[in-house]
Amino acid sequence: MPDEALLTVAGIGKAFGGLRVVDDVSFTVPRGGRLGLIGPNGAGKTTVFNLISGVYPLDAGTITLDGKAIGTLPPRDRVLAGMARSFQNIRLMPHLSAVENVMLGQQARASGLGALLTPIGWMPRGRWRRDAEALLAEAGLDIDPGDVVSSLPYGIRKKIEVVRALASRPKLLLLDEPAAGLNPAETAELARFLRKIAEGGTALLVVEHDMGFVDEVCDRVVVLNFGKRIYEGSMAGARADALVREAYLGADAA
């Protein structure tokens, strides 16, 4: 059932003051699908992420994840329903180590007092810690997992953010500009890693400015402009679309 919808976003809207930042946006991410969310600066992409993950309440519309209406749930319940996200500006916990940040991402899988009160940071390597270290290694991060993240370079922290989101074993991974600030080699490696994740069955929803990266990672794109959806389809189709060209390059180029 490859085409069954995992995430359905239907007619969502959000206004700040009088400004409609997201206006009647709808799209679906199929199970195991890879959707790119693109558009010029200020198009409302990050706001869509914040609405899906529950940072802001919805003004209008519904969100369904895996058959469950999550549009009004608190953020934590949405995580438990099977989604995880990264952030545009790195928001790792600066005082925690790399592996602790990843173990924080496992939170949604750990329930009950037993899981809360078992030491996960100490010598006897519990399964949580082994799991987190394995995930870091899988992402090709050649670091000491015990390094405090504020001492690590940008590219590595950016990647740890993705790994932290993956640690909850989500059905849907929301990535907010994962390639921003990375050099070409790092970007290519990240794209390979994300394709491998997608092959493992995790659906991706990616906001990104680097079109080459989107082309490589995603199989479909949704284009936003001024909070409205102006295109949905293939990347090649988006490149040829008059409205999309106008949104990116201005009216003259169209």
Binding site: R76, R91, H95, S97, Q107
Partner: protein, 281 residues
Amino acid sequence: MSGYWSGILAILAINIIFAYGIFVTATAGQLNLGGAGFMAIGAYGAAMLGEQLGWTPALTVPAATLLTALVGIGIAFPVLRTRGVYMVLATFAFAQVVTGIILTQPALGGAMGLVVTEYVDLPVLLGVAAAVTIGVFWLTATRLGLAMRALHDDELVAVLMGVPARAVQVAGFAIGGGLAGLAGALYAHHFSFVEAQYFSPLLSIYVLLFVLIGGTQTAWGPLVGASFFTIVPELLRIGGSWRYVVFGVMIVAMMMFRPEGMVTRTLLARLMGRRRHADAG
């Protein structure tokens, strides 16, 4: 051992337990400037249970700890509606209310204080302090501790990672309040006397300083902070007011040059070497 040093060791043990009480709350990102209020509840709770019900310290101390933990849960819900400066002020006001109530209740001895008959000896204090220290190290290594430290660093992201923020913060107040109450109960039984004036705003300020200056990043912080500020002034043997002036200068200098406290994770990493550090809680 001379009476002088055993007195200092007793204060040290109580300060360490008390400091861990404030630390656990601070680890979860909450500043509690009402420590003296929690400690007073533990001290008077133990004193009253011993006097009224004739319980021995083996019962009064755990009961007073539990009582203060419950008060911590009760006060957490209103206090957690506030943040930052408001939370500092709310906890401060809470302690003022507690000492004010003690002063106005003749049954609690009012301004005269209460005599506590049952005596708890120094080794018990040291044993409990050691147990609390180990317990807090354990806590910081658990997933609960990880969730607390995540809330301290970035509450929104912690919630988006699935941390049940409110429950963890209430747990922080419960454990923190309980430990402060434990310190109070031991204080009452060791010094055989409690009076409201001891639990002044200045006591709340001192214990918060122990914790913030020791460092909130690891469980070593309160241990180092409380020990340093209890023992060093004694070793320096500087008298009366100069001791506080030196204390104040150290605080200001600390905040200028090392605002994250004496013990930080990077310091531990350097002390223990990279590999060991990877395993440190």
